[in-house]
Amino acid sequence: MNDLVVQVKNLTHHYGKKCVFENMNFEIKQGSIFGLLGKNGTGKTTTINILNGFLEPTSGHCLVFGEDSHNLSPQTKARVGFLIEGHIQYSFMNIKQIEKYYSAFYSGWKKEAYWELMKKLQVTENQKISKMSCGQRSQVALGLLLAQNPDLLILDDYSMGLDAGYRRLFIDYLTEYIKAEGKTIFITSHIIQDLEHLLDYCVILDYKTVLLTMKIQDFLRDFKQYKFEVVNDKIELQKNDLIKNYEIIKNKVTTYTFSGMNEIESYLRSLGIDYKDLHQVPMSLEDAFIGLTGKY
């Protein structure tokens, strides 16, 4: 029980009459990297806001280090590092001033971690944040988080506005950070492919619902894509326990399932579908994500 950093229990949120999600449940264990994946508008930022205490859920509970996320004590807040979507920081400050500002709040402040990153940017100490590029600003935000040295890092779309180089840099530093004992990361990103080799667990959201919560390895191993051709291109399939999603383009059919090829074959035969060339196609995390949630 003690190694649970975050516990989300039956979380439901509505904006007015619009339901964002219902009965979301997941737990984040200490030392893991947990990804919250979902298309735009499925409630990723809403979940992060609830987790940080910036939104009161319609119902359900969210505990961070055992405390209600809406009433975190200063001691618990000191253990949580929070990256706001867009790497928002105080842009009227320069990089020296902002380090001085935050250092007063955290007893274990590691200024070397911050300045190590700043050196790589090749900017002067008096460089104003507002005059920096989006990539450079992301490094300032990351440097401040690493200097804070929190036990839990919450990153809301760290990849927003970043080119491939800065995204890779971000991931490299996160990988180093997680090596430290007991550190935990909760991350969202709209660039799924970057997270494939980073995440341990994931929650995948769809509109109003949670599609799955599982280990990323299990998801990549168990979720499969099968393709086949049909003789008659006017077939009808339906999503069900077996077929999680499907796509039909002319006579080519793609199905996504947690089941094996035998089950798919039996199912197609039971529907009287005349098919050929049924084969499994390997998937990346992004393929699997799109396969599960659909392209639209």
């Binding site: 910036f54 807040k77 000191a78 706001i84 105080y90 001085k100 500002y101 709040f105």
Partner: protein, 226 residues
């Protein structure tokens, strides 16, 4: 920690503070010059009688300056906090959230107090050259609501900016406009000094009762009633 919050706020507003300070100094300087000129071009008896019987304020040009000062300082201090939801950064600090919000607000009020103190001392000094202390005291009493209007508009800017719900923001704007308007309306009465003496305690109490409203806005912001 509070020292650090003050450090951040100072970096944010220091240029604006300097500009507002300069504005106030220039207005007071202009008042000093025009008052001196009045005594050159008009006879002193006429000026005194106007001052005593009609309460002709030699520093009437200062009337809206404290209000403008409070308004600008409030906007410069709170706009960056609300732009891109930067207030989340402040509220995520390992510090009591009420303490954080009040530290930001009290620092702004302190800066306004400094500017207003300089204004008052300068007016008292300039006035002291030409008028008796009884007249000056009465005049300063009349000007007190102008400063209270400056404090009030600053406080209400902080409350309105942090409040997340637009309907509540509009309601707060209407109430603030009505309240602050009262602080300027008394000037049209001939017996302004007596009138202000009666209403001042209420204005002072009401102005500073507004200050903790920022905690209510902060609580609404945290609930996310957007």
């Amino acid at each position: 920690m509070i020292k650090s919050i003050i450090y951040k706020e100072w970096i944010k507003v220091r240029v604006t503070f300097a500009a507002l300070f300069l504005l106030n100094v220039l207005v007071v300087l202009s008042i000093s010059i025009s008052t001196g000129n009045k005594f050159i071009f008009f006879d002193a008896a006429t000026i005194y009688s106007k001052a005593i019987f009609y309460q002709d304020l030699f520093f009437i040009d200062l009337m809206f300056i404290p209000f403008i000062t409070g308004l600008i300082l409030g906007i410069i201090q709170y706009f960056p906090e609300m732009n891109s939801n930067r207030l989340k950064l402040a509220l995520h600090l390992p510090m009591n959230e009420s303490k954080t919000l009040l530290s930001i607000q009290f620092f702004g009020l302190f800066l306004l107090f400094l500017i207003y103190l300089i204004d008052t001392l300068a007016i008292a000094t300039v006035g002291g050259i030409y008028f008796s202390s009884e007249i000056i005291n009465g005049f300063l009493l009349v000007s007190l609501p102008w400063y209270l209007a400056g404090f009030s508009v600053y406080i209400m800017i902080s409350v309105i900016f942090i409040e997340p719900l637009w309907s509540r923001r509009i309601l707060l704007m209407i109430v603030s406009a009505g309240f602050i308007n009262n602080m300027f309306s008394g000037i049209i009465f001939v017996n302004a000094i007596e009138l202000f003496s009666l209403s001042l305690p209420y204005f002072i109490v009401l102005t500073f009762i507004l200050s903790p409203l920022i905690l209510l806005s902060g609580s609404n912001y945290k609930r996310g009633t957007k």
